[in-house]
Subunit: 274 residues, 2 copies
């Protein structure tokens, strides 16, 4: 790859020259937050939603952000101007900072990184296989860097021939590690779990789409058996159909008509075309 730039505490530098002190609380204690958004044709998508969540995550985790929103947008603009990657993913990371005692919050490091990213239509047509796993993420509303259980589970997911894992706890379905979950009922209602989840930006916009009743609900794990369609959503995945859960086929095992309709609506909203 060509030399890519990164923004660290508001200063541009070459990405491969960046490194973080080993005494940063992210390395010592897994303590930090982040957010991730995409750019399409040079335009950051749902930027305000992502910034709102980023500052909210930071505040919840007691991490000061040295740049205010205007300065942060300026830093993102500057990075985009330097890197010239019109279709990209932008990650904002805020670490716990260098900790004097390995436990107290220091001066957080704010890292903005950018990498090429293009949507691939083919993934939609393939559909995803999920396994289920009983787990409740800690602090689910906050976008922390904690993906310990998700990465720990990768060999189990692979062994099952699956693509990802759907968490449930106390009988209720919650989310995938990096995506929200939706199912279509026999009455053609589109439901997404209401509680103990990360409030995804894509999820928020899907809840406003037209043509169907799309609503938050408690989804009992037994309800999955009667799902006509299912899909997951995230900023990088948009909508991806789920064609089997726990080895059981959903619908006819292909992307369903409601999922497809919402996907087309959402692409239009987001300004993506294939």
């Amino acid at each position: 790859m060509s030399e890519r730039y990164i923004s660290v505490n508001g200063e541009l530098m070459l990405a491969n020259s960046l490194s973080i002190s080993a005494s940063d609380l992210a390395i010592q204690r897994g303590y930090g937050i982040f957010d991730f958004l995409v750019t399409v044709n040079g335009k950051p998508i749902f930027l305000e939603d992502h910034l709102l969540r980023f500052y909210s995550s930071a505040q919840s985790m007691h991490l000061p952000v040295t740049l205010n929103q205007k300065e942060l947008i300026g830093a993102i603009d500057q990075l985009m101007g330097k890197n010239q990657l019109p279709n990209s993913g932008i990650r904002l990371t805020l670490t716990g900072g260098n900790s004097p005692d390995g436990y107290s919050i220091g001066n957080p490091n704010l890292i903005i990184s950018q990498s090429p990213f293009n949507y691939q239509n083919q993934v939609f047509e393939n559909g995803l296989k999920l396994i289920t796993y009983e787990h409740q993420r800690q602090l689910p509303f906050i976008k922390t860097i904690d993906y310990l259980k998700a990465i720990y589970l990768q060999p189990i997911i692979k062994a099952a021939g699956a693509d990802d894992v759907l968490y449930f706890f106390n009988g209720l379905v919650s989310e995938c590690p990096r995506a929200n979950f939706f199912m279509v009922t026999e009455q053609n209602e589109v439901l997404t779990p209401k509680e103990n989840i990360l409030h995804g930006v894509t999820r928020k916009h899907l809840l406003k789409l037209k043509g169907y009743i799309i609503r938050e609900a408690n989804i009992n794990i037994e309800m999955l058996a009667s799902a006509k369609e299912a899909f997951i959503s995230s900023s990088t995945k948009n909508i991806l159909p789920v064609t089997s859960i726990g080895g059981k086929q959903i619908g006819d095992g292909k992307p369903g008509p409601i999922t497809r309709n919402l996907y087309e609506q959402f692409k239009q909203l987001k300004g993506i075309s294939f």
Copy 2:
């Protein structure tokens, strides 16, 4: 401080020259393990126990360790020889490594750091105040770097005028974020939670001390009200008396005789004198 050395993947370097790539999975996803041991008069304490747990944690989290046990002991010896800190804490950290996609395990970084550490007798006499909090740590048997909830709770602990937090879940007491928990019953039995905890090295050795029945048990949170004494244990804390839990005084609010006796026995075992 004078220039201190650190060992990274078996190579010595100046501690302040070490930094970790921002694409390491520890920073991206809070993914890594560690262990921590102390040296007293130049001798690593319970080294074999810590190494056993370190390799076990690494294996559980699918992280390869590039040094075998003999090489790792050699690296620790080399570091100790260079730093000349006879009374110290040694931290072995194994990160997820540079991840090509921000999610898959890369080549883990093995960092051995050393810092001065001396036990302070006074802390024992003061006793600790704990609050209780309902939480179950994920993957509790594995010594991961995940202290997200513990650090998140610091302002709540401070607001309560407490020193630390005691987790419980489904009515059962488990542990403090960085220490195991023990209580003395009305029958002078010393109990420590049995399940869903990290198996502390100090805890292991305390369970073998003489003079009392010391055993693992399920401790219901209501049992705390009848505790005659309570204490926590860890490699850095040895034994520290707990004098109140959730605002309620334990015993007469001072370190009790059984706690004191076990502390004296343990100091002797460990070769510490004040």
